[in-house]
């Protein structure tokens, strides 16, 4: 919602077109993004995006801190997929330092990873239900999600920021009782998710979201969208299978990549629901075959940190929203020279424009939600130039410059 003064400035009525600012403060968008939607009647004819409202300069901050501090800082990039961020970062560090975590540590990392995927997908399903005005379903999915959060709390002591990873391993171990407990919880969650699936297949939801926000296969490939957004358009990519990391190499046979060819909001939603079942399968396999052994190296983390030489590495993980990429360049004395994060939402946001054009105003929030935008991740160093239809990542200095300039103007 914008203030009346703002509205005065931003709404220009050109003939029959009305420009409506969606966000940055809008109840449907939980996060700040400014979509300038031009409409004719109820139909959307053009979209313009303005990002950067939650730009916090994390990459710059990371350069001034040591690796352990950075680990906790980048966990705060996003509250929904915090574990993906740390895993990705730690993997890069381990590659540079030549540290191999134990099998058990890798399995535990994967376990948290999949639980996080379930929690994130459930969250999104709730948000989609909320956008289409289905409050009860929203309440129900969030109720189920609480169970996963309980598990997180039992394992790591935290609901959101788990702080599970450390250099060379993980920080918390599972006891046999916990294993049983997780199994029992998974059974409950599976039952509830089946119910949610039924409701989503139901007429009222289907009527609302079928055929909405179409992103064709070609567009999806061309715009390089990732994760469930791509899989909903029939693009068969998944980092877990294509470039296995952590324990996914050994779990390859326990899950399949869900691909839907519907290309619309419904397909993307369904991909997410089915992925929850796959995640539950993975978790069961992990619990079955959890190897014994230490969960982290005996040495102190600070010694490990100082032992990491100068070097650079790229690491990839499949975060709940898609492929997450980290480029890490260390300086050899426990600090960072450069950190670059390419989050899935950054790739996916570009796909929003073909989805939105031609839809009704009523559908804008649903479509935006369907790519599961996690803008806290995205708003670091991005400028999207919609006019020229290109997006470019600009470096810190020029960004700082731009921000300052805009600031001055305001």
């Amino acid at each position: 919602m914008t203030a009346e003064r703002d509205v005065e400035r931003e709404v220009e009525v050109e003939y029959t077109r009305l420009r409506i600012p969606f966000g940055p403060i809008h109840p449907a968008l939980k996060e700040p993004v400014l979509l300038r939607v031009s409409v004719r009647g109820e139909e959307v004819v053009d979209v313009d995006m303005a990002l950067g409202h939650v730009h916090r300069g994390i990459e710059l901050l990371a350069e001034g801190r040591n690796l352990i501090q950075t680990l906790y800082l980048i966990e705060r990039i996003c509250g929904i997929c915090s574990h993906s961020h740390t895993t990705c970062f730690i993997q890069a560090l381990e590659e540079i330092g030549g540290i191999t975590p134990s099998k058990r540590a890798l399995y535990l990392r994967t376990l948290i990873f999949e639980m996080e995927r379930i929690h994130s997908h459930l969250l999104l399903l709730g948000v989609i239900a909320y956008e289409i005005g289905f409050d009860t379903l929203f309440m129900f999915t969030w109720h189920v999600r609480e169970k996963i959060l309980d598990l997180f709390e039992k394992i790591t002591g935290n609901r959101i920021h788990h702080a599970m990873n450390t250099i060379g391993g993980v920080r918390w171990d599972l006891t046999p009782r916990m294993v049983e407990e997780i199994d029992a919880y998974m059974r409950e969650v599976e039952k509830s998710v089946k119910y949610i699936h039924n409701v989503f297949m139901d007429g009222t939801v289907e009527k609302r979201v079928c055929g909405l926000g179409v992103l064709s296969y070609d567009d999806a490939v061309k715009l390089c969208v990732v994760g469930p957004t791509a899989r909903g358009s029939g693009v068969d990519i998944d980092v877990r299978r294509d470039h296995p990391y952590a324990a996914y190499d050994e779990l390859k046979r326990d899950f399949s990549v869900v691909v839907e060819r519907g290309c619309d909001v419904y397909a993307r939603t369904e991909v997410r629901i089915l992925e929850i079942f796959e995640s539950i399968n993975i978790i069961r396999a992990i619990l079955d075959r959890l190897p014994d052994g230490p969960i982290r190296p005996k040495e102190n983390v600070f010694r490990l940190m100082r032992g990491i030489p100068e070097g650079e590495a790229i690491s990839l993980v499949e975060a709940p929203r898609g492929e997450l990429l980290y480029f890490v360049k260390t300086d050899g004395s426990g600090g960072l020279k450069r950190l670059k994060v390419r989050t899935p939402t950054f790739s996916n946001l570009i796909g929003l424009k073909p989805m939105l054009i031609g839809c009704e105003i009523a559908d804008v929030p649903v479509i935006v939600a369907s790519i599961d935008p996690c803008l806290s991740c995205t708003n670091r160093l991005i400028v999207i130039d919609q006019e020229r239809g290109e997006s470019n990542v600009i470096d810190v200095d020029s960004l700082r410059h731009r921000v300052r300039r805009r600031w001055m103007r305001q």
Binding site: E4, R208, A362
Partner: protein, 316 residues
């Protein structure tokens, strides 16, 4: 009871009862979602708070219209409700017939719309246009259904005559004939849209256009708007329960003597109607799009209402 006294006492009664109804609706809604929910008298708290908040009038608004419209809305709906209630309360012929009540209800929502539009917010403008098309969708079947009462067996439009007719036949109107049954069904189908709850809360969709025309209203104005909405919801349910489902008529002449009993039966029936037409849909459905809602209303309720008027002209 004296007609004038009944009319005057029904003002506070309408307010209290309709707010209580809203509270009950919220509580049941929460219960159906596995929540505890707010206390039943929550709407009263809300109103007390809202009336004591700062008044803010946006700079883009045309002040007079913006200020006055919520008052008109609240006044119109309270008037409509008390006409209905006092007729039930006194059992005497008083002012007002069904058309007047319908008109007052429509006026209350139009007043809110205009007031919202006067705020100059683009979301309010969208809400206005959506509400406009929704009103065309549901008002027409509703009016036709009411008019078919005049053509049907009662052949009157004043409320007390309709009540007396039901008492004389010792049957609620809706079960007395086929035409009236379909008229009642039309009205029931139109209530969710008139009350603008999910799945038909398109003009006020929170996640799409942030309450539409209510967006800039705050403090006392919002309180008035809330009163207008709560009271008109109550009026709609009471309308159906008095005109079409007047259960006390089963008692025969008793109903006119023990007015207290018949009134409480009427209120209970309208509570049930509210549960069925407002609470349940808003719990189990997702919001429709404007085109879908329009199609729905022009398919089913319009057909039903036309059927009812044809049947009542034939005399079924």
């Amino acid at each position: 009871m004296d007609a004038a006294v009944a009319f005057i006492t029904s003002f506070p009664l309408v307010l209290v009862v309709s707010l209580l109804f809203e509270g009950i609706d919220r509580k049941i809604h929460a219960r159906m979602q596995k929540r505890i929910g707010p206390p039943i008298i929550q709407p009263f708290y809300d109103l007390i708070k809202l009336f004591n908040k700062e008044r803010i009038i946006p700079v883009t608004a045309s002040t007079r219209v913006f200020e006055i419209m919520p008052m008109i809305a609240a006044a119109a709906s309270i008037l409509g409700a008390s006409i209905l209630l006092s007729n039930t309360l006194s059992g005497l012929g008083m002012i007002g017939d069904l058309i007047l009540v319908m008109y007052l209800l429509a006026m209350s929502s139009i007043a809110l719309m205009v007031g919202g539009l006067a705020s100059g917010n683009p979301y309010a403008a969208i809400g206005f246009s959506r509400k406009m098309s929704m009103m065309i969708a549901y008002e027409i079947p509703m009016f036709i259904a009411i008019i078919s009462v005049a053509f049907g067996p009662p052949a009157v439009l004043t409320i007390d005559r309709v009540i007396k007719f039901q008492i004389s036949t010792r049957l609620p109107l809706a079960v007395s004939s086929l035409s009236m049954a379909s008229a009642a069904a039309t009205l029931l189908l139109c209530i969710p849209a008139a009350a603008s709850v999910v799945p038909f809360d398109i003009p006020e969709a929170k996640t799409e256009i942030i309450y539409g025309f209510l967006i800039e209203y705050g403090g006392p104005y919002l309180a008035l708007a809330k009163i207008a909405k709560a009271v008109s919801n109550f009026t709609l349910t009471l309308l159906v329960s008095v005109v079409f489902l007047y259960i006390p008529s089963l008692l025969g002449e008793e109903a006119l003597i023990n007015l207290g009993i018949s009134l409480s039966i009427c209120l209970a029936v309208s509570l049930l109607i509210m549960f069925a037409t407002i609470t349940v849909p808003r719990t189990i459905f997702a919001r429709l799009k404007i085109g879908q809602a329009f199609k729905f209303y022009w398919m089913l309720p319009l057909a039903l209402s036309i059927l009812s008027i044809i049947l009542s002209v034939i005399g079924l």
